[in-house]
């Protein structure tokens, strides 16, 4: 099973523990990969505010590079997933637009035919590896660990571009993984809401209210941690949780925000250090200790 790996800017920047934990987990899962080192940033929907076509050209360029290698793209970021899927969806429905974009890419000798699929590790784990095979890589059953899923907007919307109809189960993929590791799902309406990251530098008061509402709901529901496939959600829910909780709830930041690969890694028996769990702003000590006390299967 081989993929063209596109880790995204945040895994290579503000959340380096995502990159290392993802790579460690992918190795255990028997995933082979080749990093797309020449690919540009997806634009995250922000660049597209200024020039949507620019964003589409950059993303189709990435998909063409993978297509040339005969590989699908593997991502570890909800935002990368969504933005690339949207660009892919637009050109797949509109051959004229694709031809326009290919005209730009021709200078570089690239041409996109429209066959590349973009898949988050979350979907790869369930759809390509399969829940049973995934479970076979686990050394621990996380009994008694309550986890709140937090998808990230671009992982769930627009559902049409993300192929939800053709691939049933994507809308509950995170719950499926939490159940696969043996954890208990804390279900709450905020799981598919916005974390507030996109407006962090624009309207911080609103952004912090979102952080406080979601992490507070998980806390009130008795969750041990939140799990997210989106490093942007992680940055906001983790990094700004102390300020958000102090300001809006008058309490302390105590909800660890775990990256999806870190959860898989914990179930695989990997150490705190290996998964970079000590690097979070909100301490992960309690959940790490809870998992350490669980004997291996």
């Amino acid at each position: 099973m081989k993929y063209a790996f596109y880790p995204g800017c945040v895994a290579r920047g503000g959340a380096p523990e995502l990159f290392t934990s993802a790579v460690a987990v992918m190795e255990r899962l028997g995933i082979e990969w080749e990093e797309l080192t020449k690919a540009a940033c997806t634009g995250a929907g922000v660049l597209q505010e200024k020039n949507r076509k620019m964003g589409d050209v950059l993303n189709i360029r990435t998909l063409a590079m993978a297509e040339e290698k005969g590989l699908n793209v593997l991502v570890i970021c909800s935002t990368c997933q969504g933005v690339m899927s949207q660009a892919n969806h637009r050109v797949q429905r509109n051959p004229e637009y694709l031809a326009e974009i290919n005209a730009v890419l021709a200078d570089e000798g690239l041409e996109y035919k429209g066959t590349t699929e973009v898949k988050h590790l979350l979907w790869v784990a369930i759809e390509d590896i399969g829940v049973e095979a995934l479970k076979n890589t686990f050394q621990k059953q996380l009994d008694g660990v309550k986890l709140a899923p937090f998808y990230g907007c671009y992982m769930v919307r627009p559902s049409e571009a993300l192929g939800f109809k053709e691939n049933p189960g994507r809308d509950t993929s995170l719950e499926t993984v939490i159940e696969a590791v043996g954890g208990e799902v804390f279900d709450f309406p905020g799981k598919t809401a916005c974390c507030g990251f996109p407006i962090l530098f624009i309207n911080q008061a609103n952004s912090l209210r979102m952080v406080s509402n979601h992490t507070g709901a998980a806390k009130d529901g008795g969750a041990d941690a939140m799990v997210t496939p989106c490093p942007l959600c992680h940055l906001n829910l983790d990094g700004y949780q102390p300020k958000a909780r102090r300001k809006n709830r008058g309490d302390k930041a105590d909800m660890p925000i775990i990256h999806l690969p870190q959860l898989l890694g914990l179930a695989m028996g990997m150490s705190e250090k290996q998964l970079g769990l000590q690097r979070h702003i909100v301490s992960t000590k309690d959940i790490v200790r809870k998992v350490e006390l669980i004997p291996a299967k």
Binding site: G14, A40, N203, N206
Partner: protein, 319 residues
């Protein structure tokens, strides 16, 4: 088929009434919509259930409700599509709007937002003769936003309105876009400036796409908001944090092929805004201590000149 409805009941005007859920198990035709099921409950099971509907054909926009946590027109949603095996369906009133009773909300909030964007044509002068003529092309462009039936589903599920009731909201902003793009209107620049400068304006949208997902008429309000941002920038509105954020992101990818996160934070705060820059310090220090401060010299794409070439070519097309 057997259907199980779990309906949120409340009567804010009645003393001592608390919101609660009531369950109904009914037998309906397999082709029934959720609205058919609710009307059946009201007519045959429980006459006290309040709901609003009119055309029953997704034209009037009266029957917006939350089903399984998501706003929908219940006349457009078949029971069998959401609950083919008779699974329980949770029906609640729309969010971000005041409940009058049970499933009926007041649309005051909705129309207050619409009024804020002055949703009427503002030409500078009378037409030379007869009426204003607009090209077919310019009207086709407006079709997306003109399809809005003002049902309020987008407002119901807007994640910004959940935390800030001063946000103009997706429906009103899509409406505003419709007037900025209408060739018969002469207030485009003024409209864009107001939407850009106002608290709760175009830059407060989080781009979460809830409105795009729930709109029953494919208005895609968020896409219209993104076009408003683009248009506001083009019209010279360049003094917002939102503009600096977008511009910094765009230029970072142009320069490095990747995002420079540290630079983005500083650019968005604004290099002359001392309080906002200082505000970044505590988080920056914490991140540094944990070894997760974004690199000051950002990760770059290999062969980034190729990305600059793409930029030049696409920018050239626009001019």
């Amino acid at each position: 088929m057997q259907t199980n409805l779990k309906v949120k009941r409340q009567d804010p005007e009645a003393n001592g009434s608390q919101p609660h859920f009531q369950e109904y198990s009914i037998d309906i035709h397999p082709d029934s919509t959720i609205l058919d099921a609710l009307i059946y409950v009201r007519e045959e099971v429980d006459g006290t259930l309040a709901l609003r509907c009119s055309c029953r054909a997704s034209i009037c926009g009266s029957c917006g409700m939350k089903v399984n946590g998501r706003a929908r027109l219940v006349c457009k949603t078949r029971v069998a599509d959401l609950a083919p095996e008779g699974e329980q369906l949770t029906v609640e009133p729309m969010g971000n709007q005041r409940v009058i009773k049970d499933l009926v909300v007041t649309l005051d909030t909705f129309f207050d937002q619409i009024k804020r964007v002055e949703p009427y044509m503002k030409p500078d002068k009378e037409p030379e003769s007869g009426e204003f003529i607009a090209s077919n092309e310019s009207m086709t462009n407006l079709l997306t936003a003109m399809n809005c039936i003002m049902c309020g589903c987008c407002v119901s599920d807007c994640t910004v309105l959940e935390v800030d009731d001063n946000f103009i909201g997706p429906a009103a902003l899509a409406k505003a876009w419709r007037f900025t793009e209408d060739p018969r209107d002469d207030q485009r620049d003024q409209r864009l400036k107001t939407l850009n400068d106002e608290d709760g304006g175009i830059w407060d949208c989080t781009r979460c796409m809830q409105c795009v997902e729930v709109c029953p008429k494919d208005v895609a309000p968020m896409d219209r908001i993104m076009e408003l941002r683009d248009a506001a920038i083009e019209a010279g509105n360049r003094d917002t944090h939102g503009y600096h954020h977008t511009e910094s992101f765009y230029n970072s990818v142009k320069k490095n092929g990747r995002l420079d996160e540290s630079r983005l934070a500083l650019d968005s705060a604004g290099w002359t805004s001392i309080p906002r820059l200082l505000d970044l310090v505590p988080v920056g220090l914490k991140a540094m201590m944990k070894g997760k401060l974004p690199p000051l010299f950002p990760h770059k794409a290999e062969d980034k000149q190729k990305i600059r070439d793409v930029y030049e070519k696409v920018e050239g097309e626009r001019e």
